[in-house]
């Protein structure tokens, strides 16, 4: 055969199938481009200029993996859809005398053309757009960046390798399908006999149980720790439940409706119910995919947006004071050395601390069992979510009096209590680690405002009679961790100066003690950078992956519309011949199509509704306690997403109607 024949045939095929090929090609290009972006951001040397580059790099590295895995699954899925549509064409070639080997060669050329185009355009656009993306990320991270252009060779190589492998895999899969099938089967291809789906009660049951279980976990999980560990269980349960819901439950419900004669044999319901049964059979998995992707997009974007918007609030919650110096396993003498160094640094930068509080305390984590509290040591956390973790701190009376400017007195065994827990009901006694404390008064306020923001963990501050009492607690219970020397203050002044001063403070102070870990400096201005970069990075990732998922959703919807269109065309021709008016046919079509395409969205929104309490707790773990903000972010995200979804629907529906149009409209 003449040279270049298969190449031209392949080109011609792609041209003829452009309705399905073009979106596939676009998806390939976008996937390559997005992969390059992500990989570029991970490997970009410009990133290293940031003080907390590691955080962002880890997040971006994670994103690269997500995109890689997603690309494999998704491109594989779309390719197999394409092949299914083209089976008839392949069968025809086969019958017209092309051997399978020849078809394979033709497909090889198609894959090569497609791979070359996607890699070339994808990486090209990736390189062109990478600077823009980088600047956008820096803007999100509130970090100024030097200009410059950079091409990451490693990213290009990675992209070539990954997507080359994906294309090879899809090609092998195509070959497998061609070789497995005989020509007659290929010819019949996509129009195999339509069997009415059976109700699969087991799946219905599993679906309901999984969905119910997932929802139950999401709604009832109280403790933050449990929220983290149960989150993935809930996600998997809901995912399984969603698949069952679409595959089995929908068919079961429709069949029940069908059995209800009075309902079924009505003009409005007749075609809709039976039509829906088949649509659900063919589209259930696709719809479930759309639903899960949509849920993912909504969760990702709403939480990351919320964290990004609430980042300032998180920081002030986390750092009530500008600088908070804590020294562990030390004594008066050691602490005064730390303070000397500190004073020197502040003087260097010409900064004057304000509103200083110095106090000693013992801090411990306890298990609140209602009538008594057990001290927890190290990493042991309760597996049982019903038992609550609480924080307890002992502060000597003299430090309290000094900080508050009061002159109270206490006897040994007595304590003043400050707590964020509501409803102490005037309890007069607290039992902590086997020791009983008589509460003489519940304080309205305390000089330290640590952790007041966290409403999920109860904190108890006990002001006790003397430092000696603290020492005896530390002696009796090694798990208590010993006395902590604490100095908190605010620092007025230029933020840029503060950052530098705080950086130096951290460096110098840690050199004072033998173990650097024994002195901790929490400095708001300095740590702000790391918060901004973490939450900015997450926000960026959220939007980025959100867009990727959205693209996938759009493509699945488009292909759905396309395949439905071809199948429905004949059906509506018949209905018209049997005596349905054009208007009736059109109404019946649009109601079914609307139902099919907005079902996943509605389900996704319901998922989000149930996920809300769980997500709220996870956000609390990241120091965001503003439920109102999260609600607004979630609703906003849902609103935007619904608009985009509707736009995608409207655009793809045009293609659908154009296909059906040839007979009906």
């Amino acid at each position: 055969m003449r040279k270049g024949f298969y190449f031209r045939l392949a080109l011609q095929n792609m041209e003829k199938n452009k309705r399905t090929y073009l979106p596939y090609l676009l998806t390939c290009i976008c996937s390559v481009m997005m992969y390059y972006f992500m990989s570029f951001l991970t490997l970009n040397p410009g990133m290293d200029q940031m003080p907390d580059a590691r955080n962002v790099k880890t997040i971006m590295g994670m994103g690269t993996w997500v995109i890689a895995i997603f690309s494999v699954i998704f491109l594989f899925y779309t390719n197999s859809f394409l092949m299914k549509r083209r089976k008839k064409e392949m069968g025809l070639y086969n019958i017209l005398g092309m051997e399978k080997k020849h078809i394979g060669r033709m497909l090889l050329y198609e894959t090569l053309i497609n791979a070359a185009l996607s890699l070339l355009l994808g990486i090209g656009l990736g390189i062109l757009g990478s600077k823009l993306i980088f600047l956008f990320l820096m803007k999100l991270l509130s970090f100024p960046v030097a200009l410059g252009f950079f091409i990451s060779v490693r990213s290009v190589v990675n992209a070539l390798a990954l997507f080359g492998a994906i294309f090879l895999l899809t090609y092998l899969n195509d070959l497998r399908q061609i070789h497995m099938a005989d020509p007659v089967e290929l010819l019949r291809g996509s129009s195999m006999g339509e069997k009415e789906p059976k109700t699969r009660w087991l799946l219905v049951l599993i679906g309901i149980l999984c969905l119910g279980g997932g929802y139950w976990i999401a709604v009832t999980t109280e403790s933050v720790m449990a929220a983290l560990s149960y989150f993935f269980a809930a996600v998997i349960l809901v995912m399984v439940g969603t698949y069952c819901l679409f595959v089995a439950v929908s068919v079961a419900v429709l069949k029940l409706l069908k059995d209800c004669k009075g309902f079924y044999y009505k003009t409005k319901h007749f075609t809709a119910v039976s039509g829906m049964i088949y649509r659900m059979k063919q589209n259930a998995v696709g719809l479930a995919n759309i639903c899960i992707l949509s849920t993912g997009v909504l969760l990702l974007i709403s939480t990351t947006v919320c964290l990004y918007i609430g980042r300032e609030e998180i920081i002030t919650g986390r750092y009530p004071r500008e600088v908070s110096l804590s020294a562990y396993e030390t004594d008066e003498e050691g602490f005064s050395k730390v303070q000397e160094v500190e004073a020197q640094v502040l003087e260097n930068w010409d900064l004057e601390p304000e509103d200083i509080t110095v106090y000693r305390s013992i801090q411990m984590v306890v298990l609140d069992k209602g009538d008594k509290m057990d001290i927890l040591s190290g990493d042991e956390y309760p597996a049982n979510a019903m038992e609550k973790i609480a924080g307890v701190a002992f502060i000597p009376l003299e430090d309290y009096n000094a900080c508050m400017g009061e002159a109270r007195t206490l006897d040994p065994g007595q304590a003043l209590l400050f707590t964020n827990k509501k409803g102490m009901d005037g309890r007069k006694e607290l039992s902590i680690g086997g020791k009983k404390w008589e509460i003489t008064e519940e304080l309205e306020e305390l000089f330290t405002e640590i952790k007041v923001g966290n409403p999920q963990i109860d904190d108890y501050y006990l002001v006790v009679d003397s430092v000696g009492t603290l020492e005896s607690i530390a002696r009796e219970d090694p798990a208590s961790g010993g006395i902590i020397y604490q100095k908190d203050y605010d620092l007025p002044g230029d933020p840029d100066v503060r950052v530098k001063a705080e950086e130096q403070l951290r460096a110098q102070v840690s050199q004072v003690s033998e173990e650097p870990a024994h002195v901790r400096v929490a400095a708001r201005e300095y740590d702000r950078m790391s918060f901004y970069s973490t939450y900015g990075g997450l926000f960026f990732l959220g939007i980025f992956l959100g867009l990727l998922f959205l693209m996938a959703t759009a493509l699945i919807i488009y292909y759905k519309q396309l395949s439905e269109g071809y199948e429905d065309r004949q059906r509506f021709e018949i209905m018209q011949k049997v005596g349905m008016s054009k208007r009736e046919v059109k109404r019946s079509i649009s109601s079914q199509i609307l139902m099919v395409f907005f079902l996943p969205l509605v389900t996704a929104v319901i998922h989000i509704g149930f996920a809300f309490p769980l997500m709220k707790r996870l956000l609390a773990m990241m120091n965001l306690y503003n439920t109102g903000l999260f609600a607004v972010c979630t609703l906003g995200t849902i609103g935007c997403f619904a608009l985009v979804y509707a736009a995608i629907y409207a655009l793809t529906a045009r293609t659908y109607y154009r296909i059906v149009d040839q007979s009906v409209f």
Partner: protein, 255 residues
């Protein structure tokens, strides 16, 4: 009395950009009496399908009119045409046109459901028709589960169930093997004996030979017609064959 009057129908198709005009029907006139069984024959391209589409009100003639039961089809409003078709006409197609999403019974019910009949009413109507067409056994099955002959009998049941004035059959034996075709033609003859008017378009000599009257169409007009009278199916078969041979070799205008 004539149930259907076709008066000087002409149909001209114009290509999309104006340019060429194609005359599918030049001038067709004929009548169908109540209870008649008429076959229309012609080669492909002779305008049979165009004629049938016009009779079914799926298409409108360029000139002339179709009068069904004294009412001109062109007088019916666009909005009412579907309901009109549903009530007065029953269709049987070459490729059955059963919906694969419905079982046989629901396919037969379809026109009644569209007309808004109650379920009880539908059920009582289905029973005698199903018995007559011998499809009681397959009512619960789906189109892909039954044979071509059974599908076509189901399609006939769907056409009959509304009690139409006229049954229009488009090449009903076209997709059937000879045994199933013979079967179907017997069904047609039986329902015709009960008074059902049937108009069938076909190019199968065997199918046409069962009819009482055969119209031949050539070049967009009625060229010739044959009445059965007292002739047997075999004699009819011979006459039709002769006529077709004459049509193919060219001949004078007869009708």
């Amino acid at each position: 009395m004539s149930i259907l009057e076709v008066e000087h129908i002409q149909k001209v198709y114009t290509t999309r950009f104006g340019g060429n005009q194609v005359q599918a029907l030049t001038d067709v006139s004929f009548q169908v009496e109540e209870g008649e069984y008429v076959a229309i024959m012609g080669e492909s391209g002779s305008g049979k399908t165009t004629l049938l589409n016009i009779l079914a009100a799926l298409d409108r003639p360029t000139r002339g009119q179709v009068v069904l039961d004294g009412k001109s089809l062109s007088m019916i409003k666009e909005k009412e045409i579907a309901a009109y078709r549903r009530k007065n006409l029953g269709f049987v197609f070459q490729d059955f046109n059963l919906l694969d999403t419905f079982n046989i019974q629901d396919n037969i019910y379809l026109p009644l459901v569209l007309a808004g009949e109650s379920y009880q009413n539908m059920k009582s109507r289905l029973h005698p028709i199903a018995q007559q067409l011998r499809i009681q056994e397959i009512l619960r099955k789906f189109p892909y589960e039954v044979s071509g002959g059974q599908k076509q009998r189901a399609a006939v049941a769907r056409a009959l169930i509304t009690g139409p004035r006229l049954i229009l059959a488009d090449e009903p034996t076209g997709a059937l093997d000879s045994r199933a075709a013979g079967d179907l033609l017997t069904v047609f003859q039986k329902i015709n004996e009960k008074g059902q008017t049937i108009l069938m378009v076909t190019h199968s000599v065997m199918a046409a030979s069962c009819a009482e009257r055969i119209l031949f169409i050539k070049d967009g007009q009625v060229f010739h017609q044959i009445y059965r009278g007292e002739k047997t199916d075999e004699e009819m078969y011979g006459m039709i064959s002769d006529t077709l041979r004459m049509l193919a070799t060219g001949g004078d205008h007869h009708a």
